[in-house]
Every structure is written in structure tokens, then in C-alpha cells.
Amino acid sequence: MILLNSVSVTFENKVALSGVSVQLPQQRIGVIGLNGSGKSTFARLLNGLVKPTSGTVAVNAINLSIDARAARAQVGFIFSNPDLQIIMPTVAEDVAFSLRGKGLSAAELDSQVAEALERFGLTELANEAAHSLSSGQKQMLALCAVTIAQPALIVADEPTALLDAANSAQVQNFLLNEWQGQVVLVTHDLGLVETCDVLLRFEAGKLAEVGEPATVIANYKKSFA
């Protein structure tokens, strides 16, 4: 459950979001809106990368202003540029990095990593340099590294922006069909979010609409036609 209570975010003196209140129990949440409308700011609020200037943000009853670390452990984040999400040199090591500090034995760690790699079709690439992968493979690696930590919520900010149609479909399929936890998917690709349970539309820093995807998409198109 995601809960925002009259949240505003101001950068220096630029208002990025203002007066956003919303309660989201749905599993698959899509977010659309024009460039600069506040989508990324909303997404970043959900794992504490951005702090609200006023108001409160809570994910599964954990208040992000009070315990950002605990909240962050529950929220996985996928960025557009998979290059910047790679921390360790090889694919398997990068996935294993997500499990550090969990007190697993080497054998448990290896078996969990192997299982996760298998699930994302990365087994063959386990010992490759992570940066040598294609963009699509890197984004699958990012998903793999995020899901192995078993977050309750995945927030993806335009995860398919740099991908071709086939890889976009693969990422979409994972996030909206396979992933059983909650997901927030920010995108400019309206086809990607048609099947979401609910759609949020941002307009000039305000949450303009929350509702059925078909209705929200239609109103979005009207808003700039």
C-alpha cells in the first residue's frame, strides 16, 4: 500500500510536485504525463531518493521521512539507463551484491544467485563483464538484481526508454505479469500501461487524475490535443 498525504516537493524555488494525496492499494500502477510533469519526482519519493518538502509518504505503513533505510529495503528501483545501475564487474557478482549483509553462506548465496540468473535467462552470461551486455540484457540484469532482494514494491522509471520493442515487451511482461509484488511503472509508452490496474496522470506538478487506464489515457491525449 502506497500512501501520499498532501505531498509537495520543491527544488530550490522550482515546484516539482504540489499537494499530492493518494492512496494506492492496487498491484499494478501506471504513471503517465508530459515531460517535466513530476512523474520521476513521484517515483523517487517512493524510495526516499527525493524527500518531500512537506507532507508524508508511506510504503506499507513505513514512513519514508522517519525510516528511509527500512523503506528502501522494501522498494526496488529500476532506472532508464541500465549502465548506471551496475555496481560489480561481472553479471553474477552484480546480482550477488544485492544480497550482501544478509548473512548468507557462500553456498546459499551461490544457489540463490544461480536461481535468479536462470529466471532471467542470464545463466550463460554469469561470468561476463556486466558492461559488455546489450542494453536489453543489462535491464534484465537490473531486474534480476532488484528482485533477488525480494522487495515488496518495484518502482521503474521509464525502464524501457532505451530498449527495442522486443526487449520492452520482455520488461513489461516481467513487471506486469510475472512479478507478484506491487509495481509502479512510469512510462511515455502508453501501450505499456494499458493493462495496469490503475493509472496516475501528472500535469504540471499536480496529480491530475487517478483511474481506469482507458479513461486516463483518453483524457491525457485530449489534454495536449
Binding site: R72, F79, E93, D94, F97, S98, A129
Partner: protein
């Protein structure tokens, strides 16, 4: 030339990272101090070859690594031959090549996670002066893993310049490269935070 761990069961793979790192440091020191003259450098070359054999990469792996270093060889050797006595040029190049070869055997046979742990352990005394050993290890690892990314930025910068009819050179490449790397460092910091590292 960028090297990452290659899985294997060789004798060298089995040695703990800390001991290997110590041995590498001593060998590199020895080569820099005593690596002069045909005999010493010849011994170094034999040592490198043995290291590749002990790591299970064989003669072929050794040859591949030398081939991967061909540009480094050229860059070192050609100006040296022009500006220095030829003996000095060859000695300098041979020394560097031997050091790089040994270092690459080390990175081929050592998992980054093991290296990370070793560095963290070695840096533990720094805790007293307020430095977090975990962050030292992480910074070093990220430096290693982001070299290919920086090379990619460099490639992008050069291509963009050529597309606009500018002939790239070191200065023209370095400045935009720095800007691109700095710009990305913020995003890197965010990605680290998102993955649970407090920066």
C-alpha cells in the same frame, strides 16, 4: 586489456585473495626495483608464463593477453625507441608488460567479492581515523567495474565530434569526457542508494 574474473579450478584460483594480493604487490615491487638487464627481465617473463600456466590459461591464454596489450606495447615502445636509448626503451616496456601480465593473472583468478573482503579487512585500521573500510572496498570495486563505461563515454564523445566534423584529440576528448563522467556520477550515487548503499 580490461580483465575480469574467469571461473576455474586451478591452483591459483584456490589461493586466498589476500595472500595473492600480497604476492602480487611483492612481485611488482621486485620487478620495479630489480627489473633491469636481460637476465632479470627474462626471469620475469618466465614467471609471467608460469603464472598463466598455474592459472590454467596455458600458452594460448598468455598469447591472447599479450595480443590484447598490443596498443599499450606500441604506445610505450615507439616513443621510447625514438627518445631514449633502445636498451632503456625495451627495459621500461618489458617491465610494464610483466607487471600488467601479473596483475591480469591476479584479476583473472580472483573474484571481486573476495578482493572486496580482503581490501575491507586490510583497511579496518583506518576505522580509527573515521574512514569506513566498506566504502573503500566499494569505491575500488566500482572503479574497476566502471572502466568499460568510461571507455564507452570516450567512444561516444569521439564519435559525436567526428559526426560534427571535428577531429578528436586528447584534449578535445578529455574535457567532455570529464563532464559526462561527472554528470553520470550523480546518477550513479542515486543508483547506489537505490540498491541500499548509503552514500
Amino acid at each position: 586489456m580490461i580483465t575480469v574474473y574467469k571461473a576455474g579450478n586451478s591452483w591459483l584460483h584456490g589461493i586466498p585473495a589476500g595472500r595473492k594480493l600480497l604476492a602480487l604487490t611483492l612481485l611488482l615491487l621486485a620487478i620495479s626495483i630489480w627489473g633491469r638487464g636481460a637476465i632479470a627481465l627474462g626471469a620475469g617473463a618466465v614467471l609471467c608464463q608460469l603464472a598463466f600456466l598455474a592459472a590454467g590459461f596455458g600458452i594460448a591464454g598468455f598469447a591472447r593477453q599479450i595480443w590484447a596489450m598490443r596498443w599499450l606495447l606500441l604506445v610505450m615502445l615507439v616513443p621510447g625507441l625514438i627518445f631514449l636509448p633502445w636498451q632503456t626503451a625495451i627495459t621500461n616496456t618489458a617491465r610494464l608488460v610483466e607487471c600488467v601480465l601479473l596483475a591480469s593473472v591476479f584479476s583473472f583468478t580472483t573474484k571481486t567479492a573476495d578482493l572486496l573482503k580482503t581490501i575491507e579487512r586490510a583497511a579496518t585500521p583506518l576505522r580509527r581515523v573515521g574512514v569506513n573500510p566498506a566504502s573503500i572496498g566499494l569505491v575500488l570495486t566500482m572503479t574497476i567495474s566502471s572502466i568499460p563505461l568510461i571507455l564507452k563515454f570516450a567512444g561516444n564523445v569521439r564519435e559525436a565530434q567526428m559526426a560534427r566534423g571535428v577531429q578528436p584529440n586528447i584534449v578535445r576528448t578529455t574535457v567532455p569526457l570529464l563532464v559526462a563522467s561527472l554528470k553520470h556520477s550523480d546518477d550513479f550515487a542515486e543508483a547506489l542508494m537505490a540498491r541500499g548503499v548509503e552514500v
